[in-house]
């Protein structure tokens, strides 16, 4: 298998939308729909991601279409940027590959009352302090360790459990998707291996595309929405991207192993083994859902503890308590998750399992699941870009409910493979190049920075433009990085 170009059909299907008709492959139950403009579409054709959109359309019970966001790229099983909703009443399935190994990988944005000029003189020290305090890189353990009993409580309750330990505030919980706790979590379904991997990894960043960035709000596009989020031009923010660490990877791995032979048992034909699935209403499906929700709650605790350590680093460098710096959580949103939600499909209200694999929920104003402080503006959608250019905050729009099961993109999306990015970086100092662009970067390895260099990603501004134009989410603020730590 290699990086082959997709040569199948991609027909125009409306504003920034392209169709792979279900006639493309026998076995597709619905069309594939990819959101992109023409420039992005050319990049999207460069690998096998569109083929994966077509493959996902095989899943039993899939509703409306197999969808992909403009940051789509080749994944394993599902493409990254993929969205699929299945109806349990029509034999709908749950697929661990539609959530991914990094269950509830997601992003959170923290604001402050600091201006760029307050932080700029200390930025190198601040980045070094963040890098010293926050464990990054492969398999790194951290300062928080939990025994099995504590881990199970943490997975049952999410970050709310950290309040009594002085590691979270009620305000943090209110600004987290689902208040950081999916109901129906079954910590007892999480294997001893997963517990062992998760014991000392809560509050660690990991590697790959995970990061912690110090950013400055560069431009505001929607004053009212920005005010509701207490964001203003020139403000210093912190963005955190990580997930459920080894615990979540192991939960997914365990589930895929348990699903060996299960699709065949239920008569499900799949074009890719990584799409392994089970009916939602089956013992295998329910077991995965219980464990997946527990891992999702662990991930919210991980990002909570990462934020807590970032607050401590700011306190240490600036000599002011984080409360006085008003380092409050704006929002935390998952982008690798499956959730049971109500949507209108072909004129009928249905409860469906929405798989979002590298895609962000983007509920519009007025939706009951949007927390009350954001109910009038819509759910904040946080879109990390790359470490040289920009990241974005958007708010969900009604178009997302009509078109994409309440979903928008999750990032810029890769355009270079990891190996190609390393080749391009030969003989270069990516950290120096970033410094020349005003970004202080610290990473565990040269290769880590090389693979994640800005040129490895699509231009996030183009990706955001597509979801904005298609009415999925509206632009609120653009941030540029000034400091970054990576694995």
């Amino acid at each position: 298998m290699g990086m082959e170009r997709f040569t199948g059909p991609l027909e125009p299907a409306g504003e920034c939308c392209w169709r792979i008709p279900k006639s493309y492959k026998p076995g597709m139950r619905v069309d594939g729909l990819i959101y992109a403009n023409e420039a992005l579409l050319e990049q999207i054709r460069d690998d096998q991601a569109p083929e994966q959109v077509a493959n996902v359309a095989f899943l039993p019970g899939i509703q409306y279409a197999s969808l992909a966001m403009p940051d789509i790229h080749w994944g394993y099983g599902f493409c990254i940027g993929g969205v699929a909703a299945t109806d349990p009443e029509e034999g709908g399935v749950i697929s661990p590959g539609g959530v991914g190994y990094d269950i509830n990988c997601g992003v959170r944005l923290v604001r402050s009352n600091l201006q760029e000029s307050d932080v700029k003189p200390h930025i190198t020290r601040l980045v070094e302090e963040l890098f010293r305090r926050i464990p990054t890189g492969a398999g790194q353990g951290g300062k928080y360790t939990f025994n099995d009993r504590e881990l199970k409580q943490l997975m049952a309750e999410g970050p709310r459990w950290l309040i009594a330990r002085g590691l979270a505030t009620p305000g943090d919980i209110d600004h987290t998707e689902a208040q950081g706790c999916l109901e129906g979590a079954e910590p007892d379904y999480v294997s001893p291996r997963a517990l062992e991997r998760g014991r000392d990894q809560c509050g660690t960043l990991g590697s790959g595309n995970h990061f912690l960035e110090v950013q400055v709000v560069d431009e505001i596009f929607d004053e009212a929405a920005a005010r509701a989020m207490h964001l203003a031009r020139g403000m210093v923010c912190v963005m955190i991207h990580s997930g459920s660490r080894g615990l979540g990877y192991q939960v997914c791995d365990d589930a895929l192993r348990a699903l060996r032979g299960v699709p065949e048992k239920y008569g499900i034909v799949l074009p890719d083994r990584q799409l392994a699935c089970a009916p939602v209403n089956s013992p295998e499906g329910q077991r995965y859902l219980g464990a997946m929700r527990a891992a999702a709650n662990y991930a919210w605790c991980n990002r909570q503890l990462l934020m807590w350590q970032a607050r401590e680093a700011f306190e240490a460098v600036l000599g002011t308590p984080w409360q006085q710096l008003q380092m409050n959580l704006v929002y935390d949103v998952a982008h690798n998750i499956a959730k049971f939600e109500e949507h209108e499909v072909e004129g009928r209200r249905r409860r469906v399992w929405v798989h979002r694999k590298g895609a962000t929920r983007a509920f519009p104003p007025g939706h009951p699941e949007v927390p009350s402080m954001y109910r009038d503006i819509g759910q904040p959608v946080i879109i990390p870009g790359d470490m040289g250019r920009a990241s974005w905050v958007l708010v969900g729009q009604s178009g997302s409910m009509a078109q994409t099961f309440g979903t928008a993109c999750h990032g810029a999306g890769r355009v270079l493979s990891r190996t190609a990015a390393v080749k391009q970086a030969q003989g270069r100092r990516i950290d120096q190049e970033l410094l020349n662009r005003g970004v202080v970067a610290r990473a565990r390895s040269w290769k880590g920075l090389a693979e994640e260099q800005p040129d490895a990603y699509k231009d996030v501004d183009l990706v955001v433009e597509v979801v904005h134009t298609a009415g999925l989410a509206a632009k609120v603020a653009r941030m540029r990085p000034i400091g970054v730590i990576k694995g």
């Binding site: 990086m3 790229h73 394993y76 398999g139 060996r260 083994r273 565990r444 390895s445």
Partner: protein, 136 residues
């Protein structure tokens, strides 16, 4: 022998060998080479034994690599030399390496998991070939 091949977001590992035990041993070395930069500097000071069951060769390769990942992460053990014996439905292996030492071992990628996407173990005219994509 092994090589890393292109995948947009993750990494692919391609292994070619004369026989199946070498294929499995080289795949293990390939996996560790993705995680640790200077594998040749790893000293074979401790030994670890493995025993796995499985009727399908591709799933056995998957389980073998997953097992190594688990050992690396939970025991912080960097393994660099492998001896593998394969039966009809089982794998017995010995591996040598040393505890991870941040001052001497340069960590590179965190491999989140081994995936089934494009997983291949097959016999070719020259011997054996395996491909596996790992999630980064």
């Amino acid at each position: 022998m092994f090589e890393v091949f292109e995948h947009t977001a993750d990494l692919g590992l391609r292994v070619l060998a004369e026989d199946e035990p070498t294929l499995f041993a080289d795949a293990a070395r390939g996996l560790f080479s993705i995680m640790v930069a200077n594998l040749d500097a790893v000293r074979p000071v401790c030994k670890k034994a493995f025993a796995l069951q499985g009727s399908r060769r591709d799933e056995l390769l998957f389980d073998w690599l997953s097992e190594l990942l688990y050992v690396f992460e939970t025991e912080r053990l960097v393994l660099s030399q492998f001896r593998v014996a394969l039966g009809a439905e089982d794998l017995q292996a010995e591996a040598w390496g040393e505890p991870l030492d941040a001052t001497r071992h340069q960590l590179e990628h965190e491999v989140k998991a081994i995936t089934y996407h494009g997983l291949v173990v097959e016999q070719t005219a020259q011997g054996w070939r395996a491909e596996v994509i790992v999630d980064i």
